[in-house]
Amino acid sequence: MDLIIYGIVNSITLILMSIGFALAYGVSRVPNFAHGALFILAGYLTWVFRYRVDLPYWLSIILALIIVGLVGIALYQFILIRVRGMPISEIIASFGVGLAILEFLRWSGLRGTAHMLPPFISGTVRIFDVPLDYQRIIVIFGGIGILLFLWAFTTFTKTGLSLKAIAQNERAGLVLGIDADRAATVAVSLGAVFAGVAAVILLPLGNIVVEMGYEVLVFAIAVSVCGGLGSWKGAVLASFLIGFAQTITVSFVAPHYHFVMALFIIIIVLIFKPSGLFGRQKELEERV
């Protein structure tokens, strides 16, 4: 039983980490390699507002999310917009920005284990005889909440629909008067906010450390590649696949093999289905 529950928690953790990356890539085709950096930036800003500026917790979270969203806008408007359509340059540029943010934070004092966010509600509860702390329950609901929000946003709002249109057929979208750059800006910035939300929800489970930024990036990439880049349904499915595989590995083999498991799954998926679980035919042409 604890296998299932912790498997679910683990999978939803992966969804939270990767959904922003998957969204930005799915809509604007911008591989936002600064994703992990934005994640840590949001967590660190929340910490700064909470403990250095002494704001209430909820206000510091909102401020941090707003700032990260603005950073996302700036990232697209000032840098990525100039290298659109050159995938390698996009990767290098966004990764450079991410690297600069992460290492700057490390230099300015984000080291050691001194930086922690408090859980929203502390304490544990037993579900089917499995002890589970409230923060992990928040993780589950937060993940489901984000997915519902994304679904509602891309189904009912005009902006969301325009994002979807650009993702499906950019030229047709342009003909219908959708500003592709605006859509991409929204997507990158929303992806950044999602990274921030994930940070705020996940970071109370551990310390805020720079290494976590790289880890989030790697898992976001792993999940997105596995699920088919740009398809967020695929990303959800891949999160569950990798999440459960990892939980099973941890409980039956040895805890430190779960990184290997992730790489192993990626490679298996790529060999048998190069475009990922939910990749479409068009993507197949692009990548193989």
């Binding site: 340059s89 690297l99 600069a100 990184f259 990548r287």
Partner: protein, 334 residues
């Protein structure tokens, strides 16, 4: 008073035909060979005049230059952008370290680690070779991170402590000139290969037009394997070399520096040739080394530089200098 006019230096050399150089004097030969000769001379003479600290920096610069050329070769000539340079370094370093710890002398452990490591890297990357562009970049980026994690977690190969007490090079001169000679051999050998041999043409086909390669009944994967083998052999040599330069191997060989600095060097130096990455490494590594006092701020420095060059100066320094060199004018008598 004789009449004079300004003339570009390359006028007589290049204008006679567009791409084939028509040389008519020693001066023109010198004009073409000049930059290359200056580079070789500089590399050979500089170790004699600098201080011991900078000799070490030069050795490390050579390593990074090798990695940059490896990245540039794979990215510009074969179209596989590998962000996983650290993986090659790590594999080569650990192999050489293990061999050396088992009693194999340095002179054997480096070549064995280079070749064996390249084979291992190629085999591990084999499943990902059908991928292109972004996808290969992403996957290769993950490799060194996972490898480092695996060693830290399992505790194999010395775990987080690494393997200490390896043989060091007999002296800094051996180390330094070894790096320089390997660098020069690789540079000129590789540029001959990609520019004048058939296989170079095939490599470019792999990059630009895979269908043409398939239509010519050439095995696409086999050529990619060759390219990855060549490129990873440079990386594994770099790793093995570093292992014996420091007398120690550890998880830092999988550090992100080894993946990113070559990319930065290629972008800064200018992509499209093998000399661009070299020039980039020769500029970036000493610059980053002299900023060592600032700690991780130097990573910020080259990350910002990287973004600047990618976004605003895609041409790179080498092409810029080349253009300036060709536009250089002198007075001639009419």
């Amino acid at each position: 008073m004789p009449e004079l006019r300004k003339e570009r230096l390359d006028r007589g050399v290049k204008v006679r035909s567009d791409s084939i150089y028509a040389l008519s004097s020693m001066k023109e030969i010198l004009y073409l060979l000049g930059p290359g000769l200056v580079l070789i001379l500089l590399l050979l003479v500089l170790p004699l005049v600098v201080s011991p600290y900078w000799q070490r920096v030069m050795a490390i610069t050579g390593v990074y230059a090798l990695l940059s050329i490896s990245f540039g070769f794979l990215a510009n000539y074969v179209g596989l952008v590998s962000l996983g340079g650290a993986f090659y370094v790590g594999v080569g370093g650990y192999l050489s370290g293990l061999l050396n710890a088992a009693g194999v002398p340095l002179i054997l452990s480096i070549p064995i680690a280079t070749l064996l490591g390249a084979v291992i890297c190629t085999l591990l990357l084999l499943p990902c070779l059908p991928l292109r562009g972004v996808y290969f970049a992403i996957i290769s980026f993950i490799y060194p991170l996972f490898a480092g994690r695996l060693i830290a977690a399992t505790g194999y190969f010395g775990g987080t402590d690494g393997i200490p007490g390896l043989d060091r090079f007999p002296s800094i001169w051996v180390a330094l000139y070894m790096a320089i000679f390997i660098l020069l051999i690789v540079l000129y050998g590789l540029s001959r290969m990609v520019n004048y041999e058939d296989v170079g043409l095939v490599f470019r086909g792999v990059k630009d037009n895979e269908l043409a390669i398939k239509a010519s009944a050439l095995n696409l994967t086999w050529y990619k394997v060759q390219a990855v083998f060549i490129s990873s052999a440079m990386g594994t040599f770099a790793g093995a070399y570093l292992a014996h330069l420091y007398g120690w191997v550890g998880m830092s060989l999988f550090a992100i520096d080894f993946s990113i600095l070559p990319v930065a060097a290629t972008v800064v130096g200018g992509s499209g040739t093998l000399y661009g990455p070299l020039l980039g490494a020769l500029i970036l590594v000493p610059a980053s080394e002299s900023m060592r006092a600032f700690g991780t701020l130097r990573i910020v420095f080259y990350a910002v530089l990287l973004v600047f060059f990618v976004v605003f100066w895609t041409e790179g320094i080498l092409d810029f200098l080349k253009r300036k060199y060709e536009q250089f004018e002198h007075w001639v008598r009419i």
